[in-house]
Every structure is written in structure tokens, then in C-alpha cells.
């Protein structure tokens, strides 16, 4: 009888595996439901009874939610992998090598990365559906889809919150970085695998909480959750704060894990000077996350306490401006948390597709680092309407200055493109489109840094279009570029090039047609946060909605194409793009150690000069 690593006999292990037929998420859902029911009932019916005896109150929902999330995490596997071993019990957790491993706690960074990719894609589609409902409402100047403005604003809030905290912040970092950063570092594991496994399961908890928020009532604040406005709504905003807390905690754990992975899990010879550009991007964005996410979490906890104790810290006895300052201190770095990985991926994909040495690599790294540093100095441009002229100047200055390190990313890519024999593949196309889109978002960002324009266009569709160009235009397009680029590594299969290009052109035209028009409708007086607007704006809004629907279908087309090719695409070799970063040289399958033995890096990854072989050979191994 053999004993496993945890000291259990083979018979014990076999019995345990036989018992577990359904994936543990079912148990997680059950424990979450029990946790909510028990603790909600305890608070609302015993400890803190309210007049008229409601079954769910703000306090009981908060306590019940905490119990539900703990039950969920324990149920999916934290009980066996974290809690019991923490108190001295052996680890009893075996992961089946089939589809079920994606529905349970895993310490394999490839499984965790795929779990994040699936969850993020699902939330993108759901939040996109909310956007389609909003655009349907705005096709008509009068209220016709939603029954009241509050329902429309709640939908806007859910859309923005889920897109920001479970797609924008997570897609490239939690998804692709969890999967590929350890591989790019030449490592078989992330630094803290248990923490990594835990981090993913907070994300669906947060997404579900935000989507379920209307059960507690409407909330009209949008993803910014402005106090004291949030205190005037019914209780849906309570689930906003709680859901965002879960999602941001997930991002914080990912950031700590990936930072340590990059610093400590590098293969021999992988010096700082040879670190892949995506590694630099993830390092920069992780440091931003580690500083700013706890800041917004504390702000939201105070706002939550304002609602449930209740306090009035940002209201009568305090100042609404304090909330705004606390929110935007995080809010603008958040934009760079979203786009810095995209900048890094441009510089990762283009040299491979051009088979040309990355131009001015050090300036590319400096650009990523200085964008990170400047991002904390620009936040107050969101509040020019609340400031004195003299206070605007430094923020206006730094907002314009941040375009300089951003420009480094452009110059590095343009220099690499110069004279390259570029392979015009779908990832290339998406990267170039992403660069174009961010250029529009960036130029309009410089315009908005100017107080005169900022004050005129405040809270109009001009601003809305600007930030959608920076978030969808750059991050989502780069996300798709990365999906096509790494699909052969993820699945061992190649996508259809014609369909890939069709999908890219489709979303590019639809995106620019929809959001390009939003600049103009904004300049003509279309305000944000309104379901009803003047009649003269209806034709333009109708046209925007048509292109928005086309955009939604375009994204769906790309996801269906990728999913289909994941299973049915043409089988392809380990390294179809002739990439030189380490992820192309390891075993791709989850559940199997990628590198055996560990690679030894002897050169940089972006050198395609003539004295190197045309087809890169695997890095020398020890």
C-alpha cells in the first residue's frame, strides 16, 4: 500500500476519488446558499429585527453575503486545500484530469489561467448584453425598454462595474498572465499556488453579487458609487460594494502572486535585462494594483458602513468631495491597470510577427514603468468641475505628460515595424487596430486634460466615447489579439485565418462607427446617465445603437470562432509563429509540468538579427 504526499494510503485516495463525482462548484453553491440563509436569518430575525420584520435587511444581507462567500470558497476546495492543512490536517485533494478540474480549486497555474479566461469571457458577454439593452433603450428619445429611469441606471451600473472589475482589470492579468507568466519565466508553477487557486474563485462570487444586486433594489450611481448619492437609493448598492470587494480582492491576490513569480521564479539566465515585455507590463500593473486596490477597498468599506451602521461620513458630517477624491485616487490608475498589459503585449506580438528585433527595448520598458509612476498623479482631472483653477494646473500638466511614456510604446512598435517583413495575421491586425483605437482615446484624453474642454464636455458622451476607446479599443482588441496569438499554445490547434481577419475587420468597423459617433453626439449635447434625452439627438443615437448591436455580434463571432477552433481547428506544431519567449518551448497541457528539466536562458528573446538562425532553437537547457 503506497502513501501519497499527504501521508494517505492509496485505498483512502481511491475511496475519496470515487466519492467525488460532481464537481465541487456544486458543493460550493450549496454551502453558499446555506451560509446566506442561516446568517441572514440569524441577523434579520434574531439579532437585529427591524420594524415590519423584513427578511432581508442591509445588515443581514451583508453578514449573509460574507457567510455565503466563505461557504462558496470552502465548498470549491479551500476547505481541503487551505483551511484543514492550516490547522494541521493532511491535504486530501485530487484533481481529475478532465473537464471537472475547471470547476474546482486548483493549484496549477494553467488551470487557474483558463478558469479566469472562461469566467472573464462569460462576464464580458453578460455585461455586453446589459450594454445592448442600454443601447436599445437609447434608440428612442423616450423611455420604452425600461419601465423607469432607475432600472436603466442600474443596468448602466452593472455593465460598468462588471466590465471594469472582472474584464478590464482581469482579462489580461488574471487570465493570460496567470497562464503564461510562469511559462515565460521558465517555471513550472506560480509563486504561491494556493493563493492563486483561491483568487480565481472570488471572481465569480463578485460577478454574481453585482448581477444579483437588483434583488436588493435599484442603484443609480454607476460604477463610481458616488456617496452621498448611493445613500439615497434603495439597497442594491450594498451588493455593489460587496461584489466589488470580492472582485478586487481577487485582483490583489493575483498581483501579489505574479509579482513574486516574476521576481523569484525566473529560470537560470533569465536576467532583468532579458525579461519579456509582457513580464514587465504585468510587473508594472501588479505594483499599481497592490497600492491602489486596497485604497478603493477601504473607501468602499467606509461607504458600506455609511449605509449599514449607518454613518454619514461622506454626507452630513463629512464631505462628498472626500469620497470623490478617494475614489479617483484609485479610479485613474485603474485605467492604466487595464491598458499597461495591452501596451506590453503590442511589444510582445509585433517582433514575433515581423521576425524583427524589438526596437529600443529599454525605452519600451521605461515607458511602461513611467506610465505606472505617472498614473497616480493625474486623478483629479476627473474632478475639474469641483476644483479651483489653480488646483487644475498640476493635474492638467501631468495628464498631458503621461502621453510621453505612452508614446514610447508606440515608438517601440513603429520602430520594430519599420522594414519588417510583417506577417499580416489576425493577431497583427488586432494589435494594429488596438494601437489605432488607443491613439484616438489618447488624443481625446489630451483634449480632456485641458480644463476648458474638460468643463465643456463633462459628463457627456464625448467622455464616454473617450474611455471606451481606451478600454475596449485598446484592451479588448489586444485581448483578442492575445487569444488568437496564444490559441495554438492553449489548444494545439490553429484558427482559420480568413475568419479571424473577418472577425477583426468586423469589430473594428462596428466599434469605430459606434463610438466615433459618440464623440459627435456628446459634443451636440448628449449627456451620460440619462435614459430620456432631447428629440433632436434621436437619429444619431439610433445609428449608434445599430453599430453597437453589430459590434456585439462581432465579438460573439470572434468568441464562437475561437471556441470552435479550440476543438476543431487544424492541429499545429509547438511554435507556429517562431516565437522565442519560453512559453513556446514547454509542454502546453494543464496538469503536466511544463519544463523538465528547467530551461537555461542564454540570450534575449527579441533578437532576430541576421546572425541568429532563421528558426529559433529551444533555449539551451541545463
Amino acid at each position: 500500500m503506497s502513501a501519497n504526499a499527504a501521508g494517505l494510503s492509496g485505498v483512502d485516495t481511491a475511496n475519496r476519488q470515487r466519492r467525488r463525482i460532481a464537481p465541487p462548484v456544486i458543493r460550493g453553491l450549496l454551502w453558499a446558499a446555506i451560509g446566506f440563509l442561516v446568517f441572514n436569518t440569524l441577523v434579520s430575525q434574531v439579532i437585529d429585527r427591524q420594524p415590519y420584520d423584513p427578511f432581508v435587511t442591509r445588515v443581514s444581507a451583508t453578514v449573509g453575503w460574507a457567510a455565503a462567500v466563505i461557504g462558496w470558497l470552502l465548498g470549491v476546495g479551500a476547505w481541503e486545500v487551505i483551511v484543514r492543512p492550516f490547522f494541521g490536517h493532511p491535504v486530501e485533494w485530487d484533481i481529475p484530469n478532465d473537464w471537472r478540474r475547471y470547476f474546482m480549486f486548483s493549484t496549477d497555474h494553467k488551470v487557474v489561467g483558463l478558469q479566469y479566461i472562461f469566467t472573464t469571457t462569460g462576464s464580458f458577454l453578460l455585461a455586453g448584453l446589459a450594454a445592448m439593452m442600454m443601447r436599445m433603450e437609447l434608440m428612442n428619445a423616450k423611455l420604452w425598454v425600461f419601465t423607469n429611469p432607475g432600472a436603466y441606471l442600474t443596468t448602466v451600473g452593472i455593465h460598468g462595474t462588471v466590465m471594469m472589475f472582472s474584464v478590464g482589470t482581469v482579462a489580461l492579468v488574471g487570465g493570460f498572465a496567470n497562464y503564461f507568466i510562469p511559462l515565460m519565466m521558465g517555471s513550472n508553477s506560480s509563486a504561491y499556488p494556493r493563493m492563486s487557486g483561491l483568487s480565481h474563485w472570488l471572481l465569480p462570487a463578485g460577478i454574481a453579487t453585482v448581477f444579483l444586486s437588483p434583488l436588493l433594489g435599484q442603484w443609480t450611481t454607476g460604477w463610481r458609487a458616488y456617496a452621498p448619492l448611493s445613500g439615497q437609493d434603495p439597497s442594491g448598492i450594498v451588493f455593489y460594494y460587496l461584489g466589488v470587494f470580492a472582485m478586487t480582492t481577487s485582483s490583489l491576490l493575483v498581483a501579489i502572486n505574479l509579482t513574486a513569480t516574476i521576481i523569484f521564479n525566473r529560470a537560470p539566465g533569465l536576467t532583468w535585462n532579458r525579461l519579456p515585455m509582457f513580464g514587465w507590463g504585468i510587473l508594472a500593473v501588479s505594483l499599481l494594483t497592490i497600492i491602489w486596490v486596497p485604497e478603493i477597498q477601504m473607501t468602499f468599506i467606509i461607504s458600506l458602513l455609511n449605509l449599514i451602521v449607518p454613518f454619514s461620513l461622506f454626507e452630513q458630517t463629512g464631505s462628498p468631495l472626500t469620497y470623490m477624491e478617494s475614489f479617483w485616487l484609485f479610479g485613474h490608475p485603474e485605467v492604466y491597470i487595464i491598458v499597461v498589459p495591452a501596451f506590453a503585449l503590442w511589444q510582445e506580438i509585433i517582433p514575433v510577427m515581423g521576425q524583427k528585433t524589438l526596437f529600443a527595448r529599454q525605452w519600451g520598458v521605461l515607458g511602461l514603468v513611467f506610465v505606472m509612476l505617472f498614473s497616480g498623479l493625474v486623478w483629479a482631472h476627473h474632478m475639474f468641475t469641483n476644483m479651483r483653477n489653480s488646483e487644475m494646473l498640476p493635474f492638467s500638466f501631468f495628464t498631458e505628460m503621461i502621453s510621453i511614456p505612452t508614446g514610447f510604446s508606440y515608438l517601440v512598435v513603429l520602430g520594430t515595424l519599420w522594414g519588417a517583413r510583417l506577417k499580416f495575421s489576425t493577431p497583427t491586425l488586432f494589435v494594429l487596430m488596438s494601437m489605432f483605437n488607443f491613439l484616438i482615446g489618447g488624443i481625446t484624453g489630451v483634449l480632456l486634460a485641458d480644463p476648458v474642454i474638460n468643463l465643456q464636455t463633462h459628463d457627456t458622451f464625448f467622455v464616454l466615447s473617450h474611455f471606451h476607446y481606451t478600454v475596449i479599443g485598446s484592451m479588448v482588441f489586444t485581448w483578442l489579439a492575445a487569444a488568437y496569438y496564444w490559441l495554438p499554445k492553449l489548444s494545439g490547434r490553429m484558427y482559420n485565418e480568413t475568419l479571424g481577419k473577418l472577425g477583426a475587420i468586423w469589430v473594428f468597423i462596428a466599434f469605430n462607427s459606434a463610438f466615433g459617433q459618440m464623440f459627435f453626439v456628446g459634443l451636440r449635447g448628449m449627456n451620460r446617465w440619462v435614459a430620456v434625452y432631447p428629440q433632436y439627438l434621436q437619429n444619431m443615437n439610433f445609428s449608434i445603437s445599430m453599430f453597437a448591436f453589430l459590434l456585439g455580434l462581432g465579438f460573439l463571432f470572434n468568441f464562437v470562432h475561437i471556441t470552435w477552433m479550440w476543438n476543431k481547428g487544424k492541429p499545429v506544431g509547438q511554435n507556429p509563429w517562431n516565437g522565442k519567449t519560453l512559453e513556446w518551448f514547454g509542454t502546453p497541457k494543464p496538469g503536466i509540468a511544463t519544463f523538465s528539466p528547467l530551461p537555461h536562458v542564454e540570450t534575449g528573446f527579441y533578437d532576430y538579427s541576421e546572425n541568429t538562425p532563421p528558426t529559433p532553437s529551444p533555449p539551451k537547457r541545463m
Partner: protein, 193 residues
């Protein structure tokens, strides 16, 4: 197909850490401390924005102030002596020192919780609100530190922590000391400055 082929075992056995792994763990704890210091900075900042230097006359400086500060700061010492005892593999002594730290932490926790319920000033005032939130935050982190210490205490009892596998004690020192120092900074800026 046998179960050995269809299942991957999650192997998280406690073993001696290499120097590199030890550095990695310390780095992770320092990132934890840096990130969790940010909420304290925010609380201090909001306190000065909202309430300036005002401290109400009825504030009890002992409960929710001096007592938890002293208890938590002194509680760090037995954890260090526990680590020293672990180097000699004197496990009963390590356990008794960890228990001492836990008792001091418990005193600190109770002293933080008491003024959350019983306070002599208006809770619905700029200072009152930020003070109560600070006490709540400190209580939360103290509970975390106590859970960490409790887990180590139980693992010590089961013989899972030895001289060669002593990271658990060091992790407890990180979490416990962070909480004690962060609370002390908050107390000084909130109640004394």
C-alpha cells in the same frame, strides 16, 4: 485507466524551505504589509480631512487606545522568543510563547471591541465615525493575526512545525507585528496628535 492516470494529486507537503523559497515567502509577506498599510494611510488622511485635529473630551484613551497598543506591541516579544526556542527544537516552550502572544492579542482585541459598543462621545460626528471605523479595522486585523497564531499553535501540537520547517512562526510574526505597528500608528495619529 487507473486512478493514478486520471487524477493529479495536490501535493503541498510541509518540508524544509530553501533560502530562495524563504526569501520568496518574506517578499510575499512584505507585499501583504505594503498593500494592507494603504487602508491605514487612507483612514489617517480622511481623519484629517474630515475632523482636523479635533479630539472629543469624552474619549477614553485607555480602552481602544493605550491598552490594546501595549498588549499588541508586547505580544510581538513572545513570538520572537518562540522563534528562538524553535531553533532549539523546544516545541513545548514554543507553544507556550505562542499562547502568551495569543492571550495578549485577545486582551488587545477585547479592548478594541469594548469602545465599539460603549463610547462616551457622539458616534455620528466626524471624529466619532472615523474613530469607530478605525477600531473596527484594527479589530478585524487582530482577529486575522489571532487566527494565524492559532493555526500555528495547533500545527505545533501535531508536530508539523519543527526547526527545519519553521516558516509558520515567522509568518505569524509578520502578520502579528504588522497589525500591532499599524494600529499603534493609527492610535497615535488619531487620538494623540
Amino acid at each position: 485507466m487507473s486512478s493514478h492516470n486520471t487524477y493529479t494529486k495536490t501535493s503541498l507537503r510541509i518540508g524544509p524551505l530553501s533560502e530562495r523559497d524563504l526569501r520568496k515567502n518574506r517578499f510575499g509577506m512584505s507585499l501583504y504589509c505594503i498593500s494592507q498599510a494603504v487602508p491605514y494611510f487612507l483612514l489617517i488622511n480622511i481623519r484629517f480631512v474630515i475632523a482636523g485635529n479635533f479630539v472629543p473630551v469624552g474619549l477614553n484613551l485607555w480602552l481602544g487606545g493605550i491598552i490594546p497598543t501595549v498588549a499588541l506591541l508586547v505580544g510581538i516579544i513572545p513570538l520572537f522568543t518562540a522563534r528562538a526556542a524553535l531553533q532549539k527544537d523546544d516545541i513545548p516552550r514554543v507553544r507556550s510563547h505562542v499562547m502568551t502572544a495569543m492571550l495578549l492579542g485577545l486582551i488587545g482585541l477585547l479592548s478594541l471591541l469594548f469602545p465599539l459598543w460603549f463610547h462616551n462621545f457622539d458616534a455620528l460626528s466626524p471624529f466619532g465615525e472615523i474613530d469607530l471605523i478605525s477600531l473596527g479595522v484594527a479589530s478585524f486585523y487582530t482577529i486575522i493575526a489571532l487566527i494565524v497564531a492559532w493555526g500555528v499553535y495547533l500545527r505545533l501540537g501535531k508536530g508539523l512545525i519543527r526547526k527545519e520547517t519553521g516558516w509558520g512562526i515567522e509568518a505569524t510574526i509578520w502578520v502579528y507585528a504588522f497589525n500591532a505597528i499599524a494600529w499603534t500608528a493609527l492610535f497615535f495619529t488619531l487620538d494623540l496628535l
